[in-house]
Symmetry: C2
Subunit: 345 residues, 2 copies
């Protein structure tokens, strides 16, 4: 038996692989969140979360960013979607012998720019140089901190209903919650594909890589967010399915309300890719209590997320993720078995 | 300009590389330890430390252990040498497409065995599969926790002198402190070389990979430890030089007191390798106040470190690391410019 690409591709195969090989050996819970819940980060103290991600994107520099932007924003985002403040990061680089220093410096500059914008610090690191043909692999682990925005969000949510968690959890959705996204989908996956220059045609699309903490602070101050997840590998299809399953609700999304750039949509159409399964890097799918959802939407737009939209709602009427088209037909959106494009983050 | 192997090899070249590319961009201090002090782990709270390491050892399985044992013990050791209790780890795997599942399971079993012995937990993770010829790369980041053994050690040390730090620091040595090591050197580096099967002759040597926390707890209860470091890449030569420089002391070590197996010594001799620069994985170099050093030595032996030895002392008479031979001649042990063997951890 051998490891297959699908085993690391963010879909159903990966979940099976992780359950069979990792969870059976290491399952644990030291605070509220347990390893087998596959949350984006895990609490180890009433005040702190831990997350980790190794970035293997190919090519390491692409329109809109680099593996450096991913390594900082991606890890910060895994913290922010639990309501944590991205505070302290580790940086471990594995670099191919002969990798261009100029390219490395560009990557490190991207890291430096984003870590400052987020207001976090890299506090420890490690560097290895190898002969394997990897270009560069960057691991960032991150510590998220309890903060007043999270407290405020939970306080407001609890004015409306019970919410038994200390952090914002994937399993926190209740039927009736509205589903929001902060902008257009499928841009990161498309940008990386274009950057690979294996295609006959190009579109002018940039990765949407961005630290979502910068607008989630304000959204949490409005309050009532019951679940959040960043739709990276596997796109919003994987993300919505995971949230629905963990929360034991169904989710209906309306196709025409899902923000997507026209050219990105055409690009995916021509290549036969479903934009719902394409990776994003600066997006959050949020479930919000219906009474505060409009105000959360307003706060997202005010914080620069102009294409933010309410795209659907959670329901107890079914247990799947269902897409309703503009003419009213419905289809089930299955969890992707794997990411359509490997090495996208 | 291109990245060179030496830039990631744990010696002087790596320090220059890190200073020029990483520290200039990211230098920070959020609690006591700052990034440019290059400690094995960094505190971010009065109670917690963070460390990270990406393991790239080739081959991934070797006599005495595997990349799995390294990933757990190595990261736990970077915490333990600051006096921290290894508590919570993240595990991020990058696996080559086609890697044998049996080998992966052996590696994961090693991880599982050691994490249990240490009493720590893996609380979060990430898995990627790539086509590059890496076999497997494992990153573990770890959180260390303040504990009563550390408190006791500092308390006893402070009965003898001022010690201004909250953790056990590389810069904590005072002249007169004795230098201890818990057993034979150069075993990990030798075992990895033998496992590569590129040599005409073999010795029966195993990696010394081991979680030093298991005996440091007792040693800290005896107390008076002023600095500790695990001599991995660059061996005890790199380790002693770093400690001496940071503490602004000289260190004299007596050649005949340095524990080393006869066959390991001959192996290094034949290959023209200096065992002082060869990697170790279950060793700690400790500086201990002279009044408690004998009792610390006893506690190490009692905890199973039978070859533990006092190998020298710190002095204000010079600022180098000096090796005294059995016939009384002295030579300076320079900091290695790079590790003699690449991909050893």
């Amino acid at each position: 038996m051998r490891v297959r690409k699908e085993d690391g591709a963010g879909g159903k195969y990966m979940m099976d692989f992780l359950r069979n090989h990792i969870i059976t050996r290491f399952n644990s819970r030291v605070a509220e969140i347990s390893l087998d819940e596959f949350e984006d980060s895990t609490d180890f103290d009433v005040d702190y979360l831990l997350t980790t991600d190794s970035y293997v994107v190919n090519p390491p520099i692409f329109p809109g960013g680099s593996i450096g932007s991913l390594a900082i924003c991606g890890t910060a985002n895994d913290i922010a979607v639990k309501g944590g403040e991205p505070a302290f990061l580790s940086l471990s680089l594995v670099i191919q012998d002969g990798f261009e220093i100029e390219m490395l410096d560009k990557i490190l500059n991207d890291m430096s720019q984003w870590i400052k914008k987020i207001g976090a610090n890299i506090i420890t690191g490690d560097t290895k140089v190898v002969e394997s043909n990897i270009d560069i692999i960057a691991n960032t682990s991150g510590i998220g901190r309890r903060n007043r925005h999270l407290e405020r969000n939970l306080e407001i949510l609890r004015e409306h209903r019970e919410y038994p968690f200390k952090w914002i959890r994937d399993s926190g959705i209740s039927p009736g919650d509205l589903i929001l996204i902060n902008g257009g989908i499928a841009e990161h996956g498309s940008a990386v594909m274009v950057a690979r220059e294996e295609l006959d045609f190009h579109i002018d699309v940039k990765s949407d890589v961005y630290p979502v903490w910068l607008f989630l602070r304000d959204a949490m101050d409005v309050g009532g967010i019951s679940a959040m997840k960043d739709p990276t590998r596997g796109g919003i299809a994987a993300c919505l399915n995971e949230m629905a399953e963990k929360s034991r609700v169904g989710i209906l999304i309306e196709e025409e309300r899902i923000p997507i750039r026209e050219d990105v949509k055409s690009f995916c159409d021509v290549l036969g890719l479903d934009p719902l399964t394409m990776a994003n890097e600066g997006k959050v799918v949020m479930a919000v209590h219906p009474e505060t959802a409009d105000d959360v939407l307003k706060s997202l737009k005010k914080a620069g997320q102009r294409d933010a939209e309410i795209i659907g709602y959670a329901t107890s009427e079914f247990t799947e993720v269902v897409l309703e088209t503009s003419i009213g037909t419905r289809r089930i959106v299955p969890p992707p078995v794997a990411d359509p494009i490997p090495r996208v983050c």
